[in-house]
Symmetry: C3
Subunit: 149 residues, 3 copies
Amino acid sequence: MKAATTTTTVTPGERYAFVDLTDDLRRAIKDSGVTDGAAIAYCAHTTCGLVINEWEDGAMNDFRARIASLVPEDIYYAHDDLELRTQNLAESHERANGHSHVKAMLLSATSHAIPVAAGEPLLGRWQRLLLIELDEPKDRDVIFHVFGA
Amino acid sequence: MKAATTTTTVTPGERYAFVDLTDDLRRAIKDSGVTDGAAIAYCAHTTCGLVINEWEDGAMNDFRARIASLVPEDIYYAHDDLELRTQNLAESHERANGHSHVKAMLLSATSHAIPVAAGEPLLGRWQRLLLIELDEPKDRDVIFHVFGA
Amino acid sequence: MKAATTTTTVTPGERYAFVDLTDDLRRAIKDSGVTDGAAIAYCAHTTCGLVINEWEDGAMNDFRARIASLVPEDIYYAHDDLELRTQNLAESHERANGHSHVKAMLLSATSHAIPVAAGEPLLGRWQRLLLIELDEPKDRDVIFHVFGA
């Protein structure tokens, strides 16, 4: 039984950017020495998420358009109402990111568990592990925990 | 290699209530004796879910408003059409909760996998493990499975 | 410590079909010899997903209607715009399935982690492991990784 936990930090280039973490996942598996087991990918944030899908500009643009339509930026968010709000008023919260929290909760894409065999994640042909930034871009930590034999 | 499975039962106070389970998660990890590994949080129900996000009243209200808008309560649900329905007609189904099932499927937030290090879950600064009730409140079982060294 | 990885291939009968994989999950657990631990269910595709919910025709129809309304088929998808597109133009992509990718990303239901005790998955009373086809039906691989004692 082997196990290893590593953190990858990425900085998305802009709001709604996708960042491809598939190579980071593969490296975490290689470095762990695990050949057969599973890998957990965990996003340590509340305004971005991890999705497993295709890296194709059109599909990513389609998703951006749809999530922006389902959770618009230009409606009222109580999270951004500083006359009302009393909790967690920290330095990192000056920006209006209520819509980002709602998008992240709707996706509910904080963690994934991916089987590993022969030292490789068992991703399907078109699958890539992607971080999607739902807020203003900043440093984002993704934690990999790999375990098995 | 250690592993432990425990169940926490909570009773949300009302429909759409959030219940903070972060302390329960921490306790399950402590009680397991695992210092380095991972924890699975599993919601054993079809009309509630687990999300990892911030405990801030505004953000939680924003989410409630949005999910209620995306999956309205006041439209037709075949699940609630007792003239049509033939399956799973059990005592627990007298209430009209078709909208709750659709919300739960849309979130698809039944399980999370969270890395553990030094006896603590590797939650980000603002992350809390939250159960969201999408139906009339009732007892809800959340199962923690913690494994590692 | 035991662990086993197996793949189940299913062919949904039609678009938006649900396929019940609960018996496949139970069999994968039995065959692994694991009595106490957890099972990962992993969908190796970008245009279908795994949800854990009730097998009831009404609820499944309600979900189909809602996801079709939230992510319509008859709007523009850049993924399907062959005048624009340059990436991943492979044989399997002749069909217009941009909406399927967006639905799959919105659900973000690629993997689940389910605790196992006494050789059984700890599913709640109404919970079934379901694959939902979001594209034209084709062979779909679902990978189970079971681990524990």
